[in-house]
Every structure is written in structure tokens, then in C-alpha cells.
Symmetry: C2
Subunit: 421 residues, 2 copies
């Protein structure tokens, strides 16, 4: 049997079954072609996405991946996932003992969400850890990228990731942010640090940048190499509704105005609650020149909306694969606006209208995209229009990666060294 | 539709679907009979186990719970879970549109793991967050306990929970521990703190005590009330195999000797790697009189094994629902040993053989159990035998709760005030 769960067994049996669980974290599911994935052989490691002892999914030496699920009574099992995995759904075939499997072509390196379709229902792989994406807990697979160890945990000084809970009067809820403090934070007790607010994408949550993105190790490695300034990174939950505001209907097609209003609520949380909480709780340098905001996808849209409407609060601005809304008509659906060309003079209530003034105030405007992303034409167009209008910016392209985490890991690795210089 | 996932949709559609995700963390899945679960109404809250916007499971005002899953093509759907949920499996019935549901009698209050059986396969509820249990990511439901707010987040000073990674030479892997630092840790920079090592159970991992147990809020609340000493709590991953040691066969029935050997490896990690790492990284009081170890279930067994074999390292010892092995024959199966009476003179290589000496050295020996646990007779018997032999101990019973987290929350709430006095 590939996997032995024990949920319905007796408690005494559960204790005896502890044998299953007494082994180390390495899954053995990556074959030796990827030694960087084997923490027993060196101290550079990207932790596996598989649970203890899982034998599926298996990444073969040639890069192909075999997925397996025991489902003797099922009529149909498929596997599907993110763009870089090839999307699928890939039909699986049933062996005599009731185990379904399929081997797929080599995926693009990086982290990919995936799921099974079990008699048509999207379910998780019991052999995978789960990651919050698509508005729910979702299986994920880490495909090693040969030669890329910038997001691996290494034998360098490490910072810490801390849970910070704070009560939001705006939303009427306790909110959780994760806070990365750099390696010398606990030893260099007089030092104060700049702050990067770093946001996840739609359907993800505040866990994304550390669990999927490995932002903490990207920064540890950059700081150890002297390539990035030590900084505090704050990762908040990118959803906010005003206290008592009804939940939007699920089927509603958002307009630009509605999206802006939601972004405005989140901006109020960021500006009036999160930033003061962080400045009161950590040794920050609490001024504009030492404050950056960045986000991926929806988080990039939020970043542009919030920072461009509050230019006195942020000197560094980065949109990682953030779709660009071209239209500025509040009643237009977001979908349509995404297909309109961006007008630097009109967008964001004229934030870019005076390029000389903008360039003098904003220390970094950064855009990134993966070359396999469907959003690339829109981002390309906006970047070209902004440049043509005289706005100074950095444009980073991640070769061959889609709207997925490998794009955003590479993006952060390019962005972080440019901050607070 | 109760739940609108969007995994296979286009990225642009994903952005538009952000409407689904722009609401606050309160799920609305608890009806108003439980106002403590509604963070919009006060600042005392136990966060919901449901994902954003989920409408299932629904906890009714009378305590019954309705589970729902959309699975139009399925032939059979059931829900099953922990003892306090009533175990099940409870057959679900299919409505015309393909949604299956069942309403079950009021569960025991507290946190319960659960899962669906979808055409016989154990799968997660997409509407639930997942919690590591049974060796995999598992759905969970938080059933409010009327009047019990000791594990709720409240408007009191909060400590922090930090991820601490360290490389283990014993196992050849990077390991993750979670570290709770008390509320004044960042402001009272000269103060040093005692340390409690607090372990999860079999099939769980280092996330359990904060995600399922809410240990951080139990301590915040006790400290705010002046009932517990401020302390550092370290929660490690309770699995360890020596570097290069083969993974035990899944079907193997462990003997007492094999279990002791595995506990010994974990003990080496704790004593020679974890404790030195924590003492080097945090302002601990690094001596025996300020060091406690506690654990639940398997973690209780590990605690007794490690502390009783290293009496110079720990002054406080607590086993929360830890099954007691009566036999001391190394070749005996664990299962059999659990059914033998405990002999204080022989157990743990004679650690209890001289009660006067034991009582003089150990500042607290604490046992806990839920009165609905199948392990209770064994624990009762061991406690009675130890008391009769003259060993001083505290015995805590949690009324009506099973081998589940509400027992261990109550246990920690009783235990923590007794530590470091």
C-alpha cells in the first residue's frame, strides 16, 4: 500500500501505527537526480511538499511525475493543477488493486498547486501537504529547479517568521499577519529596520509568501550574501470588509468601482491598523523612505491602488504579475478593464500624470511578470506606456514561468536587493 | 452553490472571482446562539475552522451540525470524524442538484478532526481549513464550548509564535520548531524565561499545539490573569530517525524496544540539538529547575521516556493522555504492553523505585486524561500505583472529553499555572 492513513482506527492502534510516523521529514519522493532535495546529503534544502513517508507524487530523474491515489470504488480519477504542471486534467488509470495512477511530462520547475478529480469532485492528495490557494486548502508539489538554490534553506544566519495577531476596528475581527524579522534582529538590539509589506494573490492568504514562496529564505540568502538590506517583511491577509458589511454575492461580477472600494477598505486596514501595529511592535524605521509595498497578482493591484493613492506613505512600489486595469470607468466590469490599454495620464487618478514629480518622489517603481503568463501583454503595454511618458521604472521578466510561485520567487529575488538603497 | 472553487478557471476569471474572497474571516457558519464565535461583536474570539465564505459545516443553535458536499457524480458520500463528533461514518443523502448532506447530533465541544468518505476514499472538506492529524492534512471543526473562553484570543497582551529552523546532525535534516515567546519578551529585554517543551501526538506535527490547541492564547490569558509564569514554549516535530536509517516498514507492529529506540533518537535531538539551539537563540534560564517537558498522547510517552531517563535536565514532567506501557520487556509488542498493569518499581528503568528521592528531585509530575478516553483505565491504574508507592503527583481529569484537543486544552490550562513555582 502506498499510504496508510489511520483516521478511523482505534486509539491503541494509532499508537502502534506510530511506526509509520517515526521517520525524518525527507520524503524520498524525489529521485537522486535532484540532490539539492536530499537534506541528508547537504544542508541546502527546499523542504518537500509531501507528507511524512508519502511515495506519491514521485518525481522521476527525467523530470516526469507520477501521481497515485488508492480509490478502489471510484469510477473516474484525474489529476489537474497549475499552468506549469501542464494544467490537465490528466486521466488516471486503475490497476487491479484499485490504485489509480498517471505519469505526466516534466512540469516547469517551481511550486504548483494540484488536485485530484475523484468522480468529478476536486479533492486533495492525502500524500501532500496543503497550501491555501483558490480560496481553499490545496495540494502542492515542489519541482526542483536545477541550480536554483536562492529559495532553499541553507547554512546561513536565519531570520524568524512570527505570527502577529491584531484587532481591526475597520473589519471587526482579529487579523493575523506574518512578520519576518532579519537574522540580526535579536542580537543587534539598537538597530531599526525598513519595512516591506508583501501581499499574496487572490484565493491565497497570509501564509502564501512563506509556505509557497519561501520569502524568508530568499531574504536570509540575499542578506547573507550582502545583496539585500536587512528588512522586516510584513505579510497580511489581503481580504477586508467593513464591520457588518454583507458578504458579496458569490456570482457577482465585480466592477472597477467595487474592486476599488474593496481595495480601499484593505488600504484602511494597512494604513491605519497594520502599519501602526507593526511600528509599535517592532524596531522599524517608521517613515516613508523606509517603507515599501509589493504584492503578487491581486496583491500587485492592491499595492498600486494603495501606494499610488497614498504617496506620502510609501517610497518603494512593486507589482508582481499584477493585472493592469486600463479603464478608469468605475461602472465597467473588471474583466473588460483588464483588456483596455493603460493610459498613464488618467490611471490611478493621475498619479503618473507628472512624470518628473513622480520620479522625484518614488524611489523605486518595479513591475514583474512571467513570460508564460496570460497577463503579460497587458503588463507589457502598461510598462511601455509608462516608460514612454517618462516614468522611471524597473521591469523584470521571469523566463518560461507562468502565473505561479516560481515567477514570484524570482521576482522577490530581483526586487529585494533594490529596496532601501 | 455552497462553495465556488475556481482552480481550473482562467487567470482573468480568477481576478474577477476575487469578489468571493473579499470578505472578513468570520465564516458565518456558527449561528447566533454562540456569540463568542462572532468576532464582529466582541474582541474575544476562537477563529473559525472554516475557510472564507464557507457555509458548511453549519453549527445550528441547538448544537447539531450539518455537513454538505457537492458531488453530483458520486455514488456514496459519508462524513466521519473524531470521537467527540460521534465518529460516524454518517451516511449523507443527495439532493436533486447533486449536493449531499447530513445533520448530526450535537458533538462534544472542542476541536474535532473529520473527513468525507467519497465513494470510499477519505477526502477533505473543501470548506474547512486543514490541520495535520493522522499523518496527513485533515479537515477540522471547532465546536464552541459555552462559557469557555480560556483558549480564545482576547484583548490582552499577546506573545508571539515564531518558526525556528535548525539543522539536526542526528537526523541529517532541517527541522522546524515553533517557539512561543511571552507578551513581555520584546519589551523586558533583560528578563530571562523558563522553558516548556510541549509535544504533539502521533500523526500530528509541530503545528498542532498552536493551530488545534491554541496554546499561545491559553498562555496569554493565564499570564494576563497572573495565573501562570511567563515562559517560553517550544513545540518540536516529534519524529526523528537517525541519518541514513531506513524508514520502518509501514505494516510493522512495533515492540517496546523499537519504540524506546525511536524515542531515544528523538531524545537525542531534544537534548543535544533543540535545547542548545533554543538556549542560544532566546533569553532562557538554561537550567534544570527552569525546564519542563510535556506532551499529549505519543508526546506524553516521549516526555516520560526522555525526562525519566534524563532526570538532571528536567524538573517538571507532564503526560497529557499518554498511554502507559506496563510491560518492560523490550521484545513485547507495544499493544500488549499497554494492557499490562504499570509497576512503579520496574517501569522506566527504576526511575520511580525510590519515591523519596524522586519526590525530592522532581518539582512536578503531572498526569491528565479525558474521562471519555479509552486510555483512562491504564492511566488511572498507573496513577494509583504511583501514588500508592509514595510518588507525589497531580492527576487531572477532563470531564466528558475524549482523546481529542479539548482534553489537551483543558490539560494545558491546568498544567501551566503549576509550572516554575
Amino acid at each position: 500500500m502506498l499510504y496508510v492513513p489511520n483516521p478511523a482506527g482505534s486509539l491503541a492502534a494509532g499508537v502502534a501505527a506510530a511506526a509509520v510516523l517515526f521517520f525524518a521529514g525527507a520524503s524520498g519522493a524525489v529521485e537522486p537526480a535532484h540532490p539539492a532535495g536530499d537534506p541528508a546529503r547537504d544542508t541546502t534544502s527546499v523542504p518537500t511538499s509531501s507528507v511524512l513517508g508519502a511515495e506519491s507524487p514521485r518525481i522521476h530523474g527525467d523530470g516526469r511525475v507520477t501521481f497515485t491515489l488508492a480509490a478502489p470504488q471510484a469510477h473516474s480519477v484525474e489529476v489537474a493543477g497549475g499552468d506549469g504542471l501542464g494544467k490537465g486534467p490528466f486521466p488516471m488509470t486503475k490497476a487491479a488493486e484499485g490504485t489509480w495512477s498517471v505519469t505526466i511530462p516534466p512540469p516547469v520547475p517551481g511550486f504548483h498547486y494540484y488536485w485530484f478529480l475523484l468522480d468529478g469532485v476536486q479533492v486533495n492528495d492525502p500524500a501532500s501537504h496543503t497550501y491555501f490557494g483558490y480560496g481553499k486548502e490545496t495540494s502542492g508539489i515542489e519541482i526542483p529547479e536545477p541550480g536554483a538554490d536562492y529559495y532553499a534553506i541553507k547554512d546561513v544566519p536565519h531570520g524568524e517568521v512570527r505570527e502577529k495577531w491584531y484587532f481591526s476596528g475597520t473589519t471587526g475581527e482579529w487579523r493575523r499577519a506574518f512578520v519576518y524579522t532579519p537574522p540580526d534582529y535579536e542580537t543587534n538590539l539598537k538597530r531599526r529596520y525598513p519595512v516591506l509589506i508583501l501581499q499574496h494573490g487572490s484565493g491565497e492568504d497570509e501564509t502564501g509568501w512563506t509556505r509557497q514562496g519561501r520569502a524568508q529564505w530568499i531574504l536570509d540568502n540575499l542578506i547573507a550574501a550582502g545583496r539585500a538590506q536587512p528588512m522586516i517583511i510584513v505579510m497580511d491577509r489581503g481580504y477586508a470588509l467593513r464591520r457588518g458589511e454583507p458578504v458579496p454575492a458569490f456570482t457577482k461580477k465585480l466592477t472597477v468601482g467595487e474592486l476599488d472600494r474593496l481595495f480601499g477598505t484593505f488600504g484602511d486596514v494597512i494604513l491605519h491598523e497594520l502599519i501602526p501595529t507593526i511600528d509599535a511592535s517592532y524596531r522599524t524605521i517608521p517613515d516613508r523612505d523606509h517603507r515599501a509595498m509589493a504584492g503578487l497578482s491581486m496583491g500587485g493591484m492592491q499595492t498600486l491602488f494603495i501606494t499610488l493613492h497614498h504617496p506620502d506613505e510609501f517610497a518603494y512600489i512593486a507589482s508582481l504579475s499584477g493585472p493592469i486595469m486600463g479603464g478608469s470607468n468605475a461602472s465597467q466590469p473588471v474583466d473588460e478593464s483588464l483588456h483596455q490599454p493603460f493610459d498613464p495620464a488618467a490611471g490611478y487618478d493621475g498619479a503618473f500624470a507628472d512624470p518628473a514629480k513622480f520620479n522625484a518622489r518614488v524611489r523605486l517603481l518595479w513591475f514583474g511578470v512571467g513570460t508564460a503568463e496570460s497577463f503579460m501583454p497587458g503588463i507589457d503595454g502598461a510598462v511601455a506606456a509608462l516608460k514612454k511618458s517618462g516614468i522611471r521604472l524597473v521591469y523584470f521578466q521571469s523566463p518560461g514561468t507562468a502565473h505561479e510561485w516560481q515567477t514570484w520567487r524570482r521576482s522577490l529575488n530581483d526586487l529585494a536587493p533594490r529596496l532601501f538603497r
